[in-house]
């Protein structure tokens, strides 16, 4: 069921996007987005319409923009291009992918600059502030599992990045729309309650993508950190029985390091942070093909 965003709110967001920027707080980051594209305005209204807005004088971490590139081509095959502080790290994509490009671009901004955290490519969900870290390669089913868990009442900290504080060792929430691909879109559309999906975008580099709106109460806890409780490496395999296999600590450390965006930049701090994380946090590999059964197994880990 689509979320209802009042027209007046949509107009407000559209004006901000076309003006000095739609300035919101996303997790620990202050973001300002500018765009003249209607698709971006519609999606920002749906997914980020109720995020806290920043005061006019607030420091902004990421000034980003998604707009049509200049040139004749934009009249023939409209494209969108992402820029960060005027720098364009990616080639343009079809305009239909403009909102996805914002999501991917913001991921890139955070992964390449937020070195106050150890940033791990991972979904993170929590129950009673006990966080489950779900690292995973593309195709492992991490986002599908994350979306299903969130729709069953788990708190979303992030679908894409675990922000691990090297000193406090907790995980800072970065709640944003959950990116789903291909078959996962229909699986989640028909799964559970509380599921709001945006439009499907076809023919991206990842296939068809759609985003799931985090449940409304996610933002109420958007500043509350959670303690890592378990690391679960999901592996979706068609027809597989649900099975949890313990992983030893040395192998867990090297696997999480491989999934980190900035471990190599943090150096000794990154290694020390990962060593503590792995020492305090049991790890398992989860093979699954059935969401309910997988979630029941993870529930049992924290109960």
């Amino acid at each position: 069921m689509p979320a209802i965003i009042p027209n007046s709110r949509q107009d407000e967001i559209r004006r901000a996007l076309r003006g000095d920027g739609y300035r919101i707080k996303i997790g620990p980051f202050n973001v300002s987005l500018r765009s003249r594209l209607n698709k971006v305005a519609e999606s920002m209204s749906l997914f980020y319409g109720d995020y806290p807005q920043l005061p006019a004088d607030a420091f902004v971490d990421y000034h980003v923009r998604v707009d049509n590139p200049l040139g004749l081509r934009r009249w023939l095959h409209p494209q969108a291009i992402f820029s960060f502080d005027g720098f364009t790290p990616f080639k343009p994509l079809p305009e239909a992918q403009a909102f996805a490009m914002f999501e991917w671009g913001l991921n890139w901004c955070i992964a390449t600059t937020a070195h106050q955290f150890l940033v791990v490519h991972s979904a993170v969900v929590a129950k009673d502030d006990r966080a489950i870290i779900l690292p995973g390669d593309p195709g492992s089913g991490k986002s599908t599992l994350c979306a299903a868990m969130v729709s069953q009442g788990w708190r979303l900290l992030s679908d894409e990045m675990a922000l691990i504080d090297p000193e406090a060792e907790h995980i800072t929430p970065l709640p944003r729309p959950i990116g789903l691909k291909n078959e996962s879109i229909e699986i989640i559309r028909t799964y559970g309650n509380n599921v709001t999906l945006g439009p499907s975008i076809n023919d991206t580099a990842k296939g068809t993508v759609a985003h799931m709106r985090p449940p409304p109460d996610t933002l109420q806890h958007a500043t509350r950190a959670a303690q890592p409780d378990h690391i679960v490496f999901p592996r979706y395999t068609t027809g597989a029985a649900t099975e949890l296999r313990p992983l030893n600590k040395p192998r867990t450390l090297t696997r999480v390091a491989e999934q980190s965006f900035n471990y190599h930049i943090l150096g000794e701090d990154g290694f020390t942070t990962l060593t503590r994380l792995v020492s305090n946090c049991p790890a398992v590999e989860l093979s699954y093909s059935h969401l309910d059964s997988a979630i029941a197994q993870i529930d049992a880990l924290v109960s």
Partner: protein, 106 residues
């Protein structure tokens, strides 16, 4: 490589270890190169010995045989030499011939 050549660590102050009492494997991190390695007990033993002092391959083989209660045979020697080559390729250790004097700057 000659069995009497000496092995030494590159930047041994940059050697970091993650070790757990209940785990056989260990993780090594070299701050200089950024390498993170999952090591079996023999690999960890070799790097720790070289990280603490220069040592020849022959002596390393003897120490490893004693430590792991293994006979000194070709399989052990091959295994240690392969580990040494791997660590050297990654820039973690280097060898120099015992007979050559150290280069003295100035």
């Amino acid at each position: 490589m000659a069995g009497t050549d000496l092995w030494r660590a590159n930047l041994p102050g940059f050697f970091h270890w993650a070790v757990w009492d209940d785990e056989e494997e260990e993780v090594f991190y070299h701050q200089g190169s950024g390498e993170t390695l999952l090591l079996n007990p023999l690999g960890a033993f070799i790097l720790k010995i070289i990280g603490s002092a220069e040592i020849s391959t022959d002596k390393l083989v003897q120490l490893a045989a004693n430590h792991f209660k293994l006979p000194i045979d070709q399989a052990l020697i091959d295994c240690i030499e392969m580990s040494l080559r791997t660590f050297a390729q990654k820039g973690l250790i280097q060898t120099h011939a015992r007979d050559y004097p150290e280069f003295q700057a100035g």
